[in-house]
């Protein structure tokens, strides 16, 4: 039923944070990643900061597409192969999957909560930096 995937050359430099390179068939894959992304004006971070339980984005159900029409899909595999000469990947991260082969069901989900913390208390943002007037240049 499924076709045969042929990849002649595969090169992956970095694989991190629960990512997977999978060769072969599988019934389903369901990668899930959750992140709290904190950006600070001064890069000072404690090791045990943050708690997923505090933010509802990590517990609320993800909206799913509503399928109203029944689709009867038939597939004719005129050629039994999917051929790729080479794959080069620099990095795979945060519960991602590189898979060669059949996979019945893919159910992927990512949730990211952002924080930006600035020291400056100005409510009005600074205007874009313009070339300094000649007076300033004369001072230096």
């Amino acid at each position: 039923m499924a076709r045969i995937s042929v990849v002649h050359d595969l090169q992956v430099n970095v694989l991190l944070l629960s990512s997977t390179v999978s060769v072969g068939d599988s019934a389903s894959i369901a990668p899930i990643s959750q992140s709290i992304a904190v950006q600070r004006e001064v890069p000072a971070f404690l090791a045990d900061e943050g708690d997923f339980a505090r933010y509802p984005i990590f517990s609320r159900p993800a909206p799913q597409p509503i399928v109203k029409e029944k689709v009867r899909m038939s597939v004719i595999n005129a050629s039994p192969f999917i051929q790729v000469n080479g794959i080069r990947v620099l990095a795979i991260s945060a519960a991602s999957v590189l898979k060669i082969g059949f996979c019945g069901i893919v159910d992927a989900e990512t949730r990211i909560k952002h924080f930006r913390q600035l020291i400056s208390s100005d409510t009005d943002p600074e205007p874009p930096t313009t070339p300094k007037p000649a007076a300033d240049a004369a001072v230096t």
């Binding site: 000072a44 943050g50 999917i82 794959i87 519960a95 082969g101 019945g104 989900e109 409510t123």
Partner: protein
């Protein structure tokens, strides 16, 4: 609805990818169902100004009491 797919020969040369991230799936092969969801929360309140404070620790909706 009837939907017929005829898969003829697929021959791809070279694929170069910088990064696959955040529960992404890169698949060379057949599949039946793909559901990919992505939830981001970046509200205006996410930007705070003033002294830098660490994120609160501890579960629940009630704010954690700062240790004395």
């Amino acid at each position: 609805m009837n939907y017929t797919v005829v898969n003829k020969g697929i021959n791809v040369g070279d694929i170069k990818i910088i990064a696959i991230a955040s529960s992404t799936v890169f698949l060379v092969g057949d599949t039946q169902i793909i559901t990919a969801s992505s939830l981001f929360d970046t509200p205006p309140e996410a930007i705070t100004r003033g002294p830098l404070v660490p994120l609160e620790i501890g579960g629940g909706v009630t704010p954690a009491v700062a240790p004395i």
